[in-house]
C-alpha cells in the first residue's frame, strides 16, 4: 500500500495542490465612478466646489431641535409637541450623555473642511471651465473663496465658542492627529483666531455681489459673505467676548469700543449704503425680510448674512393651527407678549380688556392671537383660542399651550393641502437690525452714561429699529432722554428680545448677559406663561395669564456640555464646569 501511495497518489496530491494559481489581480474591481483624493485637487470645478459643501455646514434650520425651534428653549416659546427633546433644555435633564443642540461634530467638520480646502487649493491648476468663465476670473474666484473659507471658519468657531467656551483650535490641515495631546484653547485665543480670520476675510471679500465682474462678484453669487458680513461677524464675536459670561477678568471696555466702532463704520458709509433697514408698510412686513416678495428681494439690504436658501412650507405647516392644516408647534409665550404690553403701557395705549388693540406692529407679525383673521393654506379663519374655541387647547393634540400661535416667518401664500404653493427663504444669521442693536449695546456699555455717547447715537439706533416697522401707525417711539446706563440697558435688551425673537438670539443673549444670576430675572425667565381667554354670557372677554411650566436652571447651563465620548477619547480635553 505504501508503495502505491508513493507511486501514484503522492504525485497526484501534489499536482492537485499545484492547480492553485494566484488570483489577486483577477479580482480588481471594475471602475465604480468613486472619486479618490487624487481626482479632486486636479480638477478646477471639483476643487472649487468643495466650498459649496462647506456652506452646507453653516447654521440653518428653523426647527432643528428635534422638530422644535431653539426659541422653545427660551422664554419666547413653548413647543406643543410634548415629546420633542427640546424639553430637556427646559427641565435641565440634558447633559454630556444626553446632548441637545449638539453642534460639536457639525462645526468641527466644517473647520476641517475649511483647513483642507485652504491647504490644497493653492496648488490647484486653474483651467477654464467649458461653457463658463475663463481662467483669470476663476483665479480671482479662487482667491475670493479662500476669504470666504476664512469667514466660515470664524463663523464655525463662533458657533462653537458661544456654546462651549474655548475649544480646541485647529487651523491647519491634518489627516489625523495625536488627539491624546489636544487641549482646549482659551476663550481669548479662540477670539483672537476668529478676529484674525474675520480681518483676513474682510480684506479680500467684495462689498457686494451686484457688480459686473463675472465669476467674482456677480449677482449669481448673492448670498455669499461680503466685506460687511466679515466685519459684522467680528463685531458680534467681540460683543460676545465683552459680555459678562466671557469677559473673565478682562476689561470689557476696549472690546465694546471696538464693537461700536465696527458697527458705526458700516452704519455711516453714506455713499453706497451697503446695508440699511428695509422700510416696512402695510403690504410688506418683517416676515418679508426673510422671504422674497415683489418689493423686497431675497438678499435685501437688511440681510448682512443669511444661509441655506431653501424652498418649502414646513415652517407654515409646523406652526399654524390644525384648522389650517398645520400642527401649531411653536407657541409664542405670554412672556413675549408682555414685552409688547409693557411697551404699550409706557406709551399709554394698553387696555387690559382689549390687550391686542394697540400694540407695536411687530406683535401682529409675530403672533397669531385670538380674534386675528389669518389666511394661509388657502384657508381663512378667525383665530379662536378662547377656552373651548376651535383653535384652543383641546381642539387638537398639538393645539397651542399658550393661547398663541407663531406668525413670524409664516407666509400667507403658502399652500400645501391639495395644491401647493411653496415659499423661498433663507435663515438669517446677521441682519442690519442686529447690527444696530449690537452697536447700541456696545456703546451703552462703553460709556457709563448713555448721554455721553456722541451724537445721541444709542437712542437713534434703537429708535431706527423700533420705528421702521411702525410706519407712523401708532405713534413714534421715543427712547426717553436722560436715563441711566442700566435703564438704557433694559431698553436695549427688550428691543433685542422683540426685534430678534425666534431668530436664535435670545437663548444665547440671556446666557452671555448672565441674566440667571439675578434671582428676579431668573424667575421671570423660568416662569413660562400663557393666556386663558374666556367669554362670559354677556360677551365680556377676560384675559387671564397662567403659568404653563416652571423651567429648571443650573449655572452649568451657561455653557453646553461637551459630548462625554469626546472627553473619554481625549484625556486633555476638559469638560465644562458642572457637566463632569
Amino acid at each position: 500500500m505504501k508503495s502505491l501511495i508513493r507511486k501514484i497518489e503522492f504525485p497526484l496530491i501534489v499536482s492537485f495542490l499545484l492547480l492553485f494559481v494566484s488570483c489577486d489581480d483577477m479580482l480588481t474591481p471594475d471602475k465604480d465612478g468613486a472619486l479618490l483624493e487624487s481626482d479632486i485637487w486636479v480638477n478646477t470645478t471639483r476643487s472649487l466646489n468643495v466650498m459649496y459643501n462647506i456652506y452646507n455646514t453653516t447654521p440653518n434650520g428653523y426647527h432643528r431641535i428635534d422638530g422644535a425651534m431653539l426659541a422653545a428653549a427660551t422664554d419666547e416659546a413653548v413647543h406643543s409637541v410634548a415629546t420633542s427633546n427640546v424639553k430637556a433644555l427646559n427641565d435641565g435633564t440634558w447633559g454630556p450623555s444626553y446632548l441637545i443642540d449638539d453642534v460639536w461634530d457639525r462645526y468641527f467638520e466644517g473647520i476641517r473642511k475649511v483647513n483642507e480646502f485652504l491647504y490644497n487649493i493653492d496648488s490647484v491648476e486653474i483651467k477654464p471651465v467649458v461653457g463658463s468663465i475663463d481662467q483669470t476670473q476663476l483665479t480671482r474666484t479662487r482667491s475670493r473663496l479662500k476669504r470666504e473659507a476664512l469667514f466660515l471658519r470664524a463663523l464655525f468657531y463662533h458657533e462653537l465658542t458661544k456654546r462651549y467656551g474655548g475649544v480646541p483650535l485647529i487651523t491647519s490641515y491634518y489627516r489625523t492627529i495625536d488627539y491624546t495631546k489636544v487641549t482646549r484653547a482659551s476663550y481669548n485665543d479662540c477670539v483672537q483666531q476668529m478676529v484674525a480670520d474675520c480681518d483676513s476675510a474682510a480684506v479680500g471679500l467684495p462689498e457686494s455681489y451686484k457688480g459686473t465682474l463675472a465669476g467674482y462678484d456677480d449677482i449669481r453669487d448673492l448670498g455669499r459673505p461680503t466685506k460687511w458680513a466679515a466685519r459684522a461677524l467680528k463685531a458680534r464675536i467681540l460683543l460676545y467676548k465683552a459680555s459678562p459670561l466671557n469677559r473673565g477678568t478682562d476689561d470689557p471696555t476696549p472690546y465694546y469700543k471696538a464693537v461700536g466702532d465696527i458697527c458705526s463704520s458700516i452704519m455711516t458709509i453714506s455713499r453706497s449704503k451697503p446695508h440699511q433697514l428695509m422700510t416696512l408698510g402695510t403690504t410688506e412686513n418683517i416676515n418679508n425680510i426673510f422671504t422674497p416678495s415683489t418689493l423686497i428681494p431675497m438678499y435685501n439690504k437688511e440681510i448682512i448674512f443669511s444661509t441655506s436658501y431653501f424652498t418649502g412650507v414646513d415652517i407654515e405647516r409646523n406652526n399654524v393651527p390644525a384648522r389650517f392644516g398645520g400642527s401649531g408647534q411653536t407657541n409664542p409665550t405670554q412672556n413675549l407678549a408682555e414685552a409688547f404690553f409693557d411697551l404699550a403701557k409706557e406709551m399709554n395705549v394698553f387696555f387690559p380688556n382689549d390687550p391686542y388693540g394697540n400694540l407695536d406692529p411687530r406683535f401682529y407679525e409675530y403672533f397669531n392671537y385670538d380674534g386675528k383673521s389669518l389666511t394661509v393654506n388657502n384657508k381663512t379663519y378667525v383665530i379662536d383660542t378662547k377656552v373651548g374655541g376651535l383653535d384652543a387647547l383641546g381642539s387638537s393634540q398639538t393645539a397651542t399651550r399658550t393661547g398663541y400661535y407663531l406668525n413670524k416667518f409664516v407666509m400667507k401664500t403658502a399652500i400645501w393641502d391639495g395644491s401647493s404653493n411653496v415659499v423661498n427663504r433663507t435663515f438669517p444669521v446677521i441682519r442690519y437690525a442686529e447690527l444696530l442693536l449690537n452697536f447700541a449695546e456696545a456703546r451703552n456699555e462703553q460709556y457709563a452714561n448713555p448721554d455721553n455717547c456722541p451724537g445721541d447715537s444709542i437712542r437713534k439706533a434703537i429708535q431706527e429699529v423700533h420705528n421702521r416697522s411702525r410706519g407712523g401707525v401708532v405713534g413714534t417711539y421715543i427712547v426717553p432722554a436722560g436715563i441711566s446706563q442700566a435703564q438704557m440697558r433694559e431698553i436695549i435688551r427688550r428691543e433685542r428680545q422683540i426685534e430678534l425673537a425666534f431668530e436664535e438670539h435670545r437663548f444665547f443673549d440671556v446666557r452671555r448677559w448672565r441674566l440667571y444670576d439675578d434671582p428676579i430675572q431668573r424667575e421671570k425667565l423660568l416662569t413660562i406663561k400663557g393666556v386663558k381667554i374666556t367669554k362670559d354670557e354677556y360677551d365680556v372677554t377676560t384675559y387671564e395669564p397662567y403659568i404653563i411650566e416652571k423651567r429648571v436652571w443650573n449655572n452649568r447651563m451657561y455653557n453646553h456640555p461637551i459630548p462625554r465620548a469626546e472627553i473619554i477619547r481625549c484625556p486633555l480635553i476638559t469638560q465644562n464646569p458642572g457637566w463632569e
Binding site: 471594475d30 471639483r46 459649496y52 444626553y98 460639536w104 473647520i111 489625523t176 488627539y179 448673492l222
Partner: protein, 991 residues
C-alpha cells in the same frame, strides 16, 4: 368550485398520459430469485420495472414473478441495500444478489464538495428530507426548517410576510456583532430561500463545522444551509398531484380601546404631564351624536377571523438509463385578513399573494462517459395591498398598525352627510384607506438556471472525472401603484363641514422597477479522483469557482474567486481522515489583500458497529479549521477614502433666483487593512446507537472569531471626519448540541420520536470600546445579544420615596414613575447612560425541537414542536393599549403595579429590567394527520397512492409573554401584520 374544475381538468389530462404509458408491447414472464450476499433467499423484497408501475414481491424462498418486455429493466431499491438494476434481456430467470450497506452508508450527504456517506465524515450533521419538508410546510420551506434541524436557530422576523422570507436563521448562535446569517445554497448556487417551492426540495442540510465549511472560505464562518432540489431517477417514476386548501387566522391581534377608555387615558396622561384634560369621556357613552362623538371598533369592522389559503402542486419524475427528469409546477394563493365587515359600498381592497413556481431538472447521459444536467427554476409572485404608504408588504404592517392603534374617537367613518370623516390631525379615514386609496402591487420574478457536464476521465486515470458548470439567477422586483386621493371632512358643532385634502377620481398609475434587482452568475469546475482498495478509500478533489453578482446602481459587480483541494482517506472503512485547503478572494479588498487561505482537517473513527450488544454503534469524530466571514457590515471598499461630488443635499445655493450647485467632500478615512473576520472552529462529537433503535449524537463546539469590524470609537469627533470601522473585535462562542432519535415497529404500528437541542453561549472578548468610566458599561465580557438598560427598584409610590430621587436625562420622576437604580450614586444623582447595566440576553441560550410520528395501517400522524429557553424579551406595552388601561398606575382604581401614563415623557419607557421578561416557549409548529387509501383499492383505478391529510402550522405556542405577544415577533398583531396559523386539508394523488 372553480378550483375543483381546474383540478378535474388536470386529473383527466393525467389519466390520458398514464394510459399512453400503460400500452406496452409483447409481454414475457420473468421468474427470478433474490439472495443476500451470503446466498440466502430474501423474502418481502420489492422488484419493480423501470419506468413502469408494475411491481412484485419475493416469497419466503426469495422467488418472484413479473410480466415484462425484453426492453425492461428490473430494479430493486431496498432500504439498507445497494441498488440492483438488471436488464430483462439478460435473463428471464435472473438471480439477483443484494449487498447490505454498512452502517449509515445509506445516508448520502450531498455536500458542496460532492457526495459523501454519513459514516465517512468527521462533521456534525443535521438534515431533513422530503417527508419532513412536505409534512411541515404550508406556505414556505422555512416552516419545515423550524425546530427540525439541530443547531439551526430559526426565529421569526416579525409578522406574516406573504411569501417573503420570514425567518432569521443562525447556526449555533452568534459569534460576531456583524452579520451572523449563514449562506444559503441551493444546488451549489447561492440563492434565496423564499423563491423556491417546498415540493421541489429533496433535502435540506445544515453545515456547522470547519471540515464541512472549509470550501466556502471567507463565506463559511457563519455556517451554511444547503438545499438540494429533486432530480429524476431511473429507479422510480410517477406523477403526483397535491391539492390543499384551508384557512389562515391570526395568532394574535391586540384588542383596542374604545373611545371612553381612550379619552380617559389620554386625559389622565395630560393631567399627569401637568396639562389640562381635553376630552369628555362621558360623552362617548352612546347618548350623544355618533358623528360628533364617534366610537369606532376598526378591528371588528375591518379584520376577518380567517383568510382563505390554497395550494396546488403538480410533479412528474422518472427516467431511464439515458435521461432522468423532474418537473414541478406550483401555485399558492394567500389572502389578507382585511375585510369589509361593516357593509360599506365599493371595491374593498384586501391584501393577497399569488405565487407561481416552476422547476425542471433534467439529467442526460449523452454517452457512457459524459453526463449533462440542465436545471431551471422560476418564480413569479405578486403581493398586493391597499395603497397605504409604500410597498405591499410594508403596507400590510401599516394597515394593521392603523387598525389596532387608530383612536376610536378619531373621526366618524362616515359623516352624517355621507362624506368621509376626518380631522386636521386624522386625515386618514379607514373607509378611504380600503376603498379609495388605490392598490399597490409588487411582483417578484426570478429565473434560476444551471447547466453542468461531467466527463468520466477513466481513460486517462481510473477514478478520475471532471465537471464544469455554469449557472445564473436573475431577479427583479417591480411595482405598480394605482393611487388616488380622497378628502375627509370634519363635521363641526354648527353642522358645517371643514374639508381636509382633496377628492380625486383619477387613478394615477405609476410603475417601475424597484431597486431590488440582481443577476448572479456562477461558474466553476472540479476534478475528482476516487480510488478504492481493500476497504480503503482515497478521494481527492480540486475545485474552482467564480461568482459574480450584479446589483442595481453603478456598484461594481461582487466577485468571488475560489479554489479548494480536499482529500479524504478512509482506512478499513473505520478510520476516516479529511483535509481541505481553500484559497479564496473577494474584490472588496485592497490589492494584495484580496485572497485568503482557509483550511480544515478532521478525523473520525468508528469504534464499534453492528454489534449485538446494547451498544450497536459508536463513532467519534473531531475537526478543526480556519474560516472567514466577509459579511462584516461597514462600507464596501472600506480600505479607501472616497470623495463625493454633486450629491444631492451636499451642496448649496446662491443667487436670487438661486442656483444650486453640488458640493465636493471627503468621506470617512479609509481602513487600509480592511479584511474579513477569521473564525477558528473546533468540533468534537460522538454518534452512538443502542439496540439499533435509539440513536444519539453529542457535539461540543468552540469558535474563536477575530477581526470583527468595530467602530473606531477612539477616533475623536473634533477631527471633523469619520474613520471607517476597524477589524479589531474578538468574540468567542461555544456550546453543545444533542440529537436523539428512537424508532420502533410494534406489529403494524410504526413509531418514531426524536429531538434535538442546542446550547450556545457567546462572549465578547474585545470590541475596542471607549474606555468607559465604570466597569458595568462595557459590553466586553457579555454576550453580543446582551441587552443594556436600567435596573429598577419598583415604583415611586409616595412623595417620601421621591426625596433625593435621582433625576434623569429623560425626565424628572414623580409619583407613579419607575425608580431607576443610580449605579454610580457615589458620583452623581443623575440617571444617564452611565447607569445602564447588562440586563439579559435576547438570543435563546437553548433551542430545541421535538418530532413524533406514528403510522398505523393507512393512518399517519406527525407532530413537530420547537422551543427556546434561557433568554429574555423586552415588551413595553403601548400607552394606549388595553394592557395599559387596566394596569397603569392609578391608586384610585387600586392599580399600583405599573407606572403612570404620560404623553410628554418617555421616562418610564426606557429599556429597563422592569419591562424585561424571562422568556421560554414551546410551540406546536406543525401537525399532520394523513390517511392513505389501501393500495388494493386504488390500483383498480390505476393510481399508485391516494392520501388525504389535515395539516396545521404554527398551531399553538405555550409562552409567558405579557399581552400574549410572541417572543419571536413581539410586534406581530400589535403594530405589525400578525403571525398566522394555518389549517389545511389536502389531497395527494400519485399515478
Amino acid at each position: 368550485m372553480k378550483n375543483i374544475k381546474f383540478i378535474s381538468i388536470i386529473l383527466i389530462g393525467l389519466f390520458c398520459i398514464v394510459d399512453m404509458f400503460a400500452a406496452a408491447p409483447k409481454t414475457v414472464q420473468v421468474a427470478g430469485k433474490v439472495l443476500d450476499e451470503k446466498g440466502n433467499p430474501l423474502s418481502g423484497i420489492t422488484v419493480s420495472l423501470q419506468e413502469k408501475s408494475i411491481q412484485a414481491k419475493t416469497n419466503a424462498e426469495g422467488l418472484f414473478e413479473i410480466n415484462a418486455t425484453n426492453n425492461d429493466i428490473l430494479i430493486i431499491n431496498e432500504a439498507g441495500y445497494f441498488v440492483v438494476a438488471e436488464k430483462v434481456a439478460n435473463s428471464l430467470t435472473p438471480v439477483l444478489k443484494l449487498f447490505k450497506m454498512k452502517y449509515k452508508e445509506d445516508k448520502i450527504l450531498n455536500w458542496g464538495f460532492g457526495n459523501t456517506y454519513e459514516r465517512a465524515t468527521s462533521s456534525s450533521i443535521s438534515q431533513i428530507d422530503e417527508a419532513t419538508i412536505t409534512s411541515n410546510s404550508v406556505t414556505s420551506l422555512e416552516q419545515a426548517m423550524n425546530g427540525t434541524l439541530s443547531g439551526l436557530y430559526s426565529t421569526k422576523n416579525g409578522g406574516e410576510k406573504f411569501g417573503v422570507r420570514n425567518f432569521n436563521f443562525l447556526i449555533r448562535g452568534m459569534a460576531t456583532t456583524a452579520n451572523s446569517a449563514p449562506i444559503i445554497i441551493i444546488d451549489n448556487m447561492e440563492s434565496a430561500l423564499d423563491m423556491i417551492d417546498f415540493n421541489e426540495i429533496a433535502n435540506v442540510t445544515v453545515l456547522k463545522d470547519a471540515s464541512a465549511l472549509a470550501i466556502y472560505g471567507m463565506r463559511g464562518a457563519n455556517g451554511a444551509i444547503l438545499i438540494s432540489t429533486k432530480h429524476g431517477s431511473e429507479l422510480t417514476h410517477g406523477f403526483e398531484i397535491n391539492v390543499s386548501s384551508g384557512v389562515q387566522s391570526a395568532v394574535k391581534i391586540a384588542d383596542r380601546l374604545n373611545s371612553a377608555q381612550y379619552t380617559t387615558l389620554y386625559n389622565e396622561a395630560l393631567v399627569n404631564d401637568g396639562s389640562a384634560a381635553i376630552y369628555d369621556p362621558i360623552k362617548y357613552d352612546g347618548t350623544q351624536s355618533a358623528y360628533l362623538f364617534p366610537d369606532n371598533d376598526l378591528k371588528q369592522k375591518f379584520i376577518s377571523n380567517v383568510a382563505p389559503y390554497q395550494y396546488y402542486n403538480l410533479k412528474a419524475h422518472g427516467g431511464n438509463a439515458i435521461a432522468q427528469y423532474f418537473v414541478s409546477a406550483a401555485y399558492l394563493n394567500q389572502n389578507g385578513l382585511f375585510a369589509n365587515n361593516a357593509g360599506y359600498d365599493g371595491n374593498f381592497q384586501n391584501s393577497r399573494l399569488d405565487k407561481f413556481n416552476f422547476r425542471s431538472n433534467v439529467d442526460v447521459n449523452i454517452n457512457k462517459t459524459l453526463r449533462c444536467s440542465i436545471s431551471i427554476g422560476a418564480l413569479i409572485d405578486q403581493n398586493s395591498s391597499a395603497n397605504y404608504g409604500s410597498d405591499a408588504l410594508t403596507n400590510n404592517n401599516s394597515l394593521l398598525n392603523y387598525i389596532v392603534n387608530q383612536p376610536a374617537n378619531a373621526s366618524p367613518l362616515l359623516n352624517e352627510n355621507g362624506s368621509l370623516g376626518g380631522t386636521a390631525q386624522y386625515k386618514v379615514n379607514p373607509v378611504g384607506v380600503f376603498f379609495k386609496t388605490g392598490v399597490r402591487s409588487d411582483e417578484r420574478r426570478m429565473l434560476n438556471s444551471k447547466v453542468s457536464a461531467t466527463q468520466d476521465l477513466s481513460f486517462l486515470l481510473k477514478g478520475l472525472s471532471a465537471e464544469v458548470f455554469y449557472g445564473f439567477e436573475t431577479y427583479n422586483k417591480q411595482y405598480l401603484t394605482i393611487s388616488n386621493q380622497y378628502a375627509v371632512f370634519k363635521q363641526n358643532t354648527d353642522n358645517t363641514y371643514t374639508q381636509f385634502g382633496i377628492d380625486d377620481t383619477k387613478l394615477l398609475r405609476s410603475s417601475g422597477l424597484i431597486g431590488d434587482f440582481s443577476k448572479y452568475t456562477q461558474w466553476g469546475g472540479r476534478l475528482d479522483y476516487k480510488k478504492q482498495w481493500n476497504n480503503n478509500t482515497l478521494k481527492l478533489l480540486y475545485m474552482f469557482n467564480q461568482s459574480i453578482e450584479s446589483v442595481a446602481g453603478d456598484t461594481p459587480d461582487y466577485v468571488y474567486l475560489g479554489q479548494s483541494v480536499r482529500g479524504e482517506f478512509g482506512f478499513q472503512n473505520k478510520l476516516f481522515v479529511d483535509a481541505t485547503v481553500t484559497n479564496q478572494g473577494s474584490n472588496n479588498y485592497n490589492k494584495g489583500k484580496r485572497m485568503g487561505w482557509f483550511y480544515a482537517a478532521g478525523a473520525s473513527y468508528i469504534i464499534t458497529e453492528n454489534s449485538q450488544n446494547a451498544l450497536s454503534y459508536l463513532k467519534t469524530r473531531a475537526n478543526y479549521g480556519l474560516l472567514g466571514n466577509d459579511q462584516t457590515g461597514g462600507s464596501r471598499f472600506a480600505y479607501r477614502q472616497t470623495w463625493s461630488y454633486g450629491a444631492s443635499g451636499s451642496g448649496y445655493a446662491f443667487g436670487s433666483p438661486n442656483a444650486w450647485a453640488g458640493g465636493t467632500f471627503s468621506n470617512a478615512l479609509g481602513n487600509a487593512g480592511a479584511t474579513w473576520e477569521k473564525s477558528q472552529k473546533l468540533n468534537v462529537g460522538v454518534d452512538v446507537e443502542f439496540f439499533n433503535k435509539l440513536s444519539l449524537s453529542v457535539d461540543y463546539f468552540k469558535e474563536h472569531r477575530t477581526d470583527i469590524l468595530v467602530p473606531a470609537s477612539y477616533f475623536p469627533s473634533f477631527m471633523g471626519i469619520d474613520m471607517q470601522p476597524v477589524n479589531q473585535g474578538i468574540v468567542d462562542n461555544n456550546g453543545i448540541e444533542l440529537i436523539a432519535n428512537y424508532k420502533t415497529t410494534i406489529g403494524k404500528l410504526q413509531v418514531n420520536v426524536g429531538g434535538n437541542m442546542t446550547y450556545a453561549v457567546n462572549k465578547i472578548i474585545d470590541l475596542k470600546e471607549l474606555d468607559f468610566q465604570y466597569p458595568w458599561q462595557f459590553r466586553k465580557g457579555n454576550s453580543i445579544d446582551t441587552r443594556f438598560g436600567y435596573e429598577t427598584n419598583g415604583i415611586y409610590a409616595t412623595s417620601a420615596d421621591l426625596t433625593n430621587a435621582p433625576v434623569s436625562s429623560f425626565g424628572i420622576p414623580t409619583i407613579g414613575d419607575l425608580n431607576y437604580v443610580n449605579q454610580n450614586a457615589a458620583d452623581d444623582n443623575v440617571i444617564d447612560d452611565r447607569d445602564k447595566i447588562a440586563l439579559g440576553n435576547s438570543l435563546p441560550r437553548i433551542i430545541f425541537g421535538f418530532n413524533a410520528g406514528i403510522k398505523y395501517g393507512g393512518f399517519d400522524l406527525n407532530a413537530q414542536l420547537e422551543g427556546a429557553s434561557k433568554f429574555s424579551v423586552l415588551v413595553i406595552p403601548s400607552t394606549f393599549s388595553t394592557f395599559t388601561y387596566s394596569n397603569r398606575w392609578n391608586p384610585a382604581l387600586g392599580q399600583t403595579n405599573f407606572p403612570r401614563v404620560s404623553i410628554a415623557s418617555d421616562y418610564n419607557t426606557q429599556t429597563s429590567n422592569f419591562w424585561q421578561q424571562d422568556a421560554n416557549f414551546l410551540s406546536v409548529s406543525a401537525l399532520e394527520l394523513g390517511y392513505t387509501i389501501p393500495t388494493s383499492i386504488i390500483q383498480k383505478i390505476k393510481l399508485n397512492q391516494v392520501r388525504f391529510y389535515l395539516k396545521g402550522n404554527n398551531l399553538y405556542t405555550f409562552s409567558n409573554i405579557r399581552e400574549g405577544r410572541d417572543s419571536e415577533a413581539l410586534s406581530a398583531g400589535f403594530s405589525q401584520y400578525p403571525l398566522l396559523k394555518s389549517f389545511v386539508a389536502g389531497l395527494s394523488v400519485k399515478f
